[in-house]
Amino acid sequence: MALASPAFVPVQTRSERLASTSVTDFPAVTGLEFEWKFIPLARVKHLTEGALDGSPTAFTYSESAGTAVDWIEPSAPVVGTAGVPEDRAAANAWAAVEKVLHISVTGEDAAELVVRRDRFGSTPRAAHVVIEAAPNSKGVVILEHHGSANLTENVEIVVGDNAQLTVVTVQEWDDEALHLSSHFARVGRDANLRHVIVSLGGSVVRVNPSVHLVSQGASIDSFGLYFADAGQYFEQRPYIDHQAANTRSRVNYKGALQGKGAHTVWVGDVLIGPHADGTDSYEQNRNLVLSEGTRADSIPNLEIETGNIQGAGHASSTGRFDDEQLFYLQSRGISEEEARRLVVRGFLAEIINEIGSPALEERLSAAVEAELVQAEAVRASALVQ
């Protein structure tokens, strides 16, 4: 008797999701898939199937002691060691790149490295970055994104045993920019990765980090900060894969939304595998809604495959402005406008203060401040109408 063809079974566990470097392994994107369900697909569909320019794009960076930056071949052994694409846009990029940007941190107390990527232009492009922290190294790598972009890319982060690496990716693109970025991290024994996503500018910006804690004692601190204005779409889907024992994860994303059509998506997956005894994990996402007409999707998922863990928790909240906070501040003489700014700034400061780069923290505080001033102006004009 022939076996009946198996009915469609949705992926039950995060680790069983299709992963491949070949774009043809992924069916054409329809928008019904969970990965593509929220995104304004019309704006980015071409990045999942169309031709991409995979030639190296110029960038600038600061020479920093204990770090090195160069182009390597896609066939280099390190490429693909942190992860493999889990969606069609990432696979499309993987196949198209001609060179991979390789950033290495070797110093035991390396100087902060800032890589400024601002020359992508509006041609559909593919990119691939590998950030590699040698065992016992320590460093901060900041990827800054400006200008226009029509980009799908993969960013691999390999953290050697006992290394401490901070990777910050800041999206301050122009209004029309499209950016789909899949980050893959592999964190070694007793190593720590601090991963920070800051999205403030662009039309559609998606940064999805998949973090694999593969050896015992590995840990991840995953932070996100986003401020979506009218018409902007920002998405982030942190996935923390606890494979080894005594691993630790902390995920904390905060966002503000202001203006008609501002849309943010956060999907936080935590998988505690069968061998991840002693795991300690917590994830949270908080959204502050500053005006009508916005949408914040926030979905935490937790899978636990071992009974012996230290802790696993999640929290998600999306709320409007707290009028009691406004009342309290105003009752001390602070104007409503300034009180609102104080509250939002305070809300987002929790993430900014975690970045670990004083210069960048200061610059981002100023960038958030500018968003707030702009948001107040929009709000004030809406009140007048």
Binding site: D322, D323, E324, Q325, F327, Y328, L329, Q330, S331, R332, G333, I334, S335, E336, E338, A339, L342, V343, R345, G346, F347, L348, A349, E350
Partner: protein, 254 residues
Amino acid sequence: MSVLKIEDLHVSVETEQGTKQILRGVDLTIGEGETHAIMGPNGSGKSTLAYAIAGHPKYQVTGGSVQLDGEEMLDKSVDERARAGLFLAMQYPVEIPGVSVSNFLRTAKTALDGEAPPIRSWIKDLDSSMTALRMDRTFRERNVNEGFSGGEKKRHEILQLELLKPKFAVLDETDSGLDVDALKIVSEGVNRAKETTGLGVLLITHYNRILRYVKPDFVHVFVAGRVAEQGGPELAVRLENEGYDRFLTGANVE
């Protein structure tokens, strides 16, 4: 001489059961440097009076006036009232994540004075008030009310009272939930503010324990949304002995 004059104040709130009248014609006049205790049973409208004076949006004023030196406060926004010289020490101050005490205090002081305070004297004032209120230096870097104990919240309210120097302060059950040591510390703070700035105080309390440390000039008994009886400090003693029972018979308490 500053005067805070409350006349025939009527206030209601919206509830699920419809509009509910809470204050039914409150008359009170508080002079500079005077301390008026408002006492009364639960639900008599004491806190509503506090919030209505401060301008909380939940409370609808349906009649009457609140004038500070002849100027109508009810027409003003919450922050304008504070800048005119009113202060409310809250019973349950809210947490403001990510905003440090020092940033908050400096922002408030700047808003009230119209200019930033000179750094040197500001730090000096802050230090001496915090020392007097037995508040640790690390307090300045904590987020406003976040993780504060009940006693710390109340001390933080009185710290603001001392630094912001209002003309009139409403203390909404500042004594509730304090042990006797904290109560003394907080009371000393109120007394210092009275001595140094001629502060007028409207002291709302459920217990007369605080009146041993902050001496009232007048005591008003609040029942069913209005002042049912007033007198000197001796009235508080009588209430301590007799309770509120004699006011409640026949009173329309909802």
